[in-house]
Symmetry: C2
Subunit: 230 residues, 2 copies
């Protein structure tokens, strides 16, 4: 990372990436935020992100900043929009390429390096820096639309999960309620769930069946051309 002086014939905006990190557990959908220690917006919370280097593309940058600032490596990172309002950063003209990441919260609890990083449930977001409130709204919209076509929810759940957990996830993201029985039959009919045999003999129904996601059968379905609807 050379520091020095770079001169151009025309002015150029800074280019950054930001990453909205979604996690899910029994408390519902949350995002991981970082508290800003300096002005501007000192004390506000913000998404991890930073300047794009000359030798990396946007997604690479988003993954790097994500790891540097939170210690997390996310499997699933996707760009959902670029924000370029002229006055979005008081320090100077900055364009940010926004991404969202999906992480299995169960596998990373407390694994965030940054002491000032914290999970906030979607319904209880603190004041955000810059235009990050707008970015969050757009991220949520993008996630909601995405889940209608791809089973992104499985990126947010543990390897092994139950049908009620899966339903909770869909209901949290889409902010709707499904009939329990209809949801289960629809999900099972898709054929992308494997029943997991965890040894325990299932007597009664109070302890739910464990499932895992089957990426192979999903790829097959996708190849044939189908749509996942909810």
């Amino acid at each position: 990372m050379n520091k020095g002086s770079y001169t151009y014939e025309y002015p150029r905006p800074s280019v950054t990436t930001d990453c909205v990190i979604f996690g899910f557990d029994s408390d519902g959908l949350s995002v991981l935020l970082i508290e800003r220690g300096i002005e501007p917006f000192k004390g506000c919370w913000a998404f991890p992100g930073g300047f794009m280097q000359m030798d990396e593309d946007a997604e690479t940058c988003a993954r790097r900043e994500l790891e540097e600032e939170t210690g997390l490596k996310a499997d699933y990172v996707e760009q959902f929009g670029t924000f370029s309002d002229v006055n979005r950063d008081p320090r100077g003209r900055t364009v940010t390429i926004a991404h969202y990441a999906l992480v299995k919260k169960s596998e990373v609890k407390g694994a965030d390096d940054a002491a000032q990083a914290r999970w906030f449930p979607i319904g209880n977001i603190p004041p955000l820096a810059f235009d990050h409130d707008r970015i969050l709204r757009v991220a949520l919209k993008a996630l909601r639309e995405k889940i209608h076509f791809e089973p992104v929810g499985f990126e947010l759940l543990p390897q092994v999960f139950t049908m009620p957990q899966l339903q909770d996830l869909y209901e949290s993201i889409l902010e709707v309620k499904f009939d329990r029985r209809n949801f289960a039959s629809k999900m099972l009919k898709l054929g992308i769930l494997n029943e997991v045999d965890d040894g325990t003999v299932r007597k009664g129904t109070r302890n739910p069946i464990k499932y895992s996601f089957n990426p192979e059968s999903y790829s097959q379905m996708k190849a044939k051309g189908f749509r996942l609807e909810f």
Copy 2:
């Protein structure tokens, strides 16, 4: 637009916008391209676009470049992705914020200033400059997904159109075939079409009924929360 010298502590990529312009007529879906007169990619075709100014956001820039290079003012312009591969422009690191525009081809035929601008049907695209072939593929995907949720097709048709025209449009964009009768009843059931009385007495059915899009009833439906599915 000051020309001069602008110096920064860290290197910055150039930021441009590009605009994929979609049009539709009896020949199907096409895009408007500009032939490059200079290297690199001299003789290849490209989307209109150019450098973002410091006092405009991305969409404003896309609309400005669109008008400067083709003379067109588009009603509908939407960002669909940002392309940031390190080597996408041989002249230097450049990030482009890509948009697509929908225009009523019927109203602008031949109205493009740029002599070297030409419409190309989607099925017959010439060699494109830079990574514009990839950008086109992503644009098409974005348009296809969008049309499932919003009646963007009406931006591409004349004010007054017929049911077969509307069906052709959907079939061109989605690359599928619908049953004529089912398509019409589904469309009419949406309640966003006004029958246009053009004076002529409709004897027989060979001359089709004329319709226009009703934005008011569409807004109402949208407010109530619905989804347009095809």
